[in-house]
């Protein structure tokens, strides 16, 4: 398993990296799980805001009006009113930071708007100028900053107990305690770890975490700990905090042990592999093994829900021109499902049992975003959508070789808009190789 080396740096400048050309950031509305993800609405080019005037020549802080020239996730390229077609003083800022306001905010607080010094000579009647350029234009809702603050409240708190996949044995779960919450991402420390070093990062909506008792309820393997009593302050995270899965009807035709399918390999998210249903659990959950790579004791089976966007019917890769990773050691190449099923005496899982829903996600190839390296899930990295197959996104980590690419669902809580790290205070991993130009 390849993993990246952390580059502890600050000052990567998304704005300079995106620039004013054809590179775009995925819109905030593509990420329903992030702050403002469901209330970003039509915030777009042309919207006017009140921003600090950094060219006033005055000792006190004053504001002026700017228009959005380009949006990239939470970040906006702004131009002060009065600069018209002059892009020389354009600047990027995160539209969700506290110093960006709807037009009208200054007047409500008794603050006068002051035009930048460099254009003061251009106009003798600023009132007439502003009436002309603002009438009929859009601005932010008056409660925009309140909404930003509200959307950054997260229900998971330190010392809450959860069940989470054991990162060293994917086939089982363990109890872990929430140690840190940043932007909805949880740092979980496995129970029985004295020094807090045995940790795991995931988003609070990750399919890898569950309420206490989940494993027993569905028949999933679980590593029991010797901790017999909760310590002071520890509390089981309430069930309603976790991502819900769709109810499924297992009473009719259903997955059976031994059925074949295609699945994203959780240990190599760059690959979609030939796989087998190893065990059918309750509530629609399945234990899946990657053909040719399985430990004899099943310790590397992993759990996917039957509605998971990470499992596919046999033939999915061929239909969509994706390279299917054949079982390790299988020599009859090119791999043919028909032959393989006959040789193994197995059947393919019925197509109708898979999730075929494709949301209108809004991602396009080339869009930039911030994405978790799922092989090292504490890292959120500068990334690009390079391919889209229905709801599946191919995520490339900028500056890294293609072998680090990962297949990720369009609704994955591990994808974030440009500016999310800045907004939440999470450390962003910049592209691996960069010229000085992109540093602030």
């Amino acid at each position: 398993v390849k993993s990246k080396t952390v580059i502890p740096v600050k000052g990567f400048d998304w704005g300079r990296y995106i620039g004013t050309g054809d590179i775009n950031g995925a819109p905030v509305g593509c990420f329903k799980h992030v702050p403002m993800g469901t209330s970003w609405g039509d915030l777009a080019e042309g919207v006017r805001v009140e921003v600090p005037n950094t060219d006033s020549g005055l000792p006190m802080k004053v504001y002026w009006i700017a228009g959005v020239i380009k949006l990239a996730g939470n970040k906006a390229l702004l131009r002060y009113e009065g600069f018209d077609g002059d892009s020389g003083r354009d600047f990027w800022c995160n539209i969700c930071v506290p110093d960006i306001h709807p037009v009208g905010w200054c007047a409500a607080g008794g603050k006068p708007l002051v035009p930048p010094k460099s254009i003061q000579h251009k106009c003798t009647n600023w009132k007439a100028f502003l009436v002309k350029c603002l009438t009929g234009a859009k601005t932010l809702p008056i409660d925009f900053s309140t909404k930003v603050q509200q959307s950054m409240q997260f229900p998971f708190k330190k010392l809450m107990r959860v069940e989470v996949v054991d990162k060293t044995h994917l086939c089982r779960t363990r109890v872990a305690l929430v140690e840190q919450v940043i932007g909805g991402r949880l740092r979980l420390v496995y129970e029985e770890c004295e020094d807090g070093s045995d940790d795991f990062w995931c988003h609070m909506y990750s399919p890898l975490i569950h309420s206490i008792g989940w494993s027993r309820g569905i028949g999933h393997r679980f590593k029991r700990s010797d901790v017999s009593k909760k310590l002071d302050g520890q509390v089981d995270a309430p069930g309603q905090l976790f991502a819900k899965v769709k109810d499924v009807d297992q009473s009719g035709e259903w997955f059976k042990d031994g059925m074949k399918l295609e699945a994203i390999d959780p240990l190599n998210l760059s690959a979609i592999c030939v796989a087998t249903v190893r065990k059918v659990l309750a509530d629609g959950y399945l234990m899946i093994g990657i053909d040719g790579s399985e430990a004899a004791d099943g310790s590397d089976w992993f759990c996917y829900h039957s509605t998971s966007p990470s499992i596919f019917p046999a033939g999915f890769c061929e239909i969509n021109t994706i390279e299917l990773t054949p079982p390790r050691g299988y020599t009859k190449l090119p791999f043919r499902w028909f032959d393989y099923l006959r040789e193994t005496g197995s059947v393919a899982a019925p197509v109708k049992l898979f999730n075929k829903e494709v949301p209108n996600h809004g991602f396009r190839p080339g869009m930039k975003l911030e994405a978790v390296d799922l092989m090292e899930p504490r890292l959120v990295c500068v990334a690009t959508v390079t391919r889209i197959v229905h709801r599946l996104l191919r995520i490339h980590f900028d500056g890294w070789e293609d072998e680090y690419d990962q297949w990720v669902d369009c609704e994955s809580p591990d994808l974030y808009p440009v500016g999310w790290c800045q907004l939440t205070g999470y450390q962003l991993q910049p592209p691996a190789v960069l010229g000085e130009f992109y540093w602030d």
């Binding site: 039509d42 007047a107 708007l113 009647n125 009436v131 603002l134 234009a137 601005t139 409660d143 909404k147």
Partner: protein
Amino acid sequence: APEASGRKWEQKQVQIKTLEGEFSVTMWASDDKK
């Protein structure tokens, strides 16, 4: 009016204060309550 979308845009009288005085303009602001 701004382009049709799932969000309701409302015309609002927005107050502006400059060094020359105060006045209002009519702008569009989105209403999230919809």
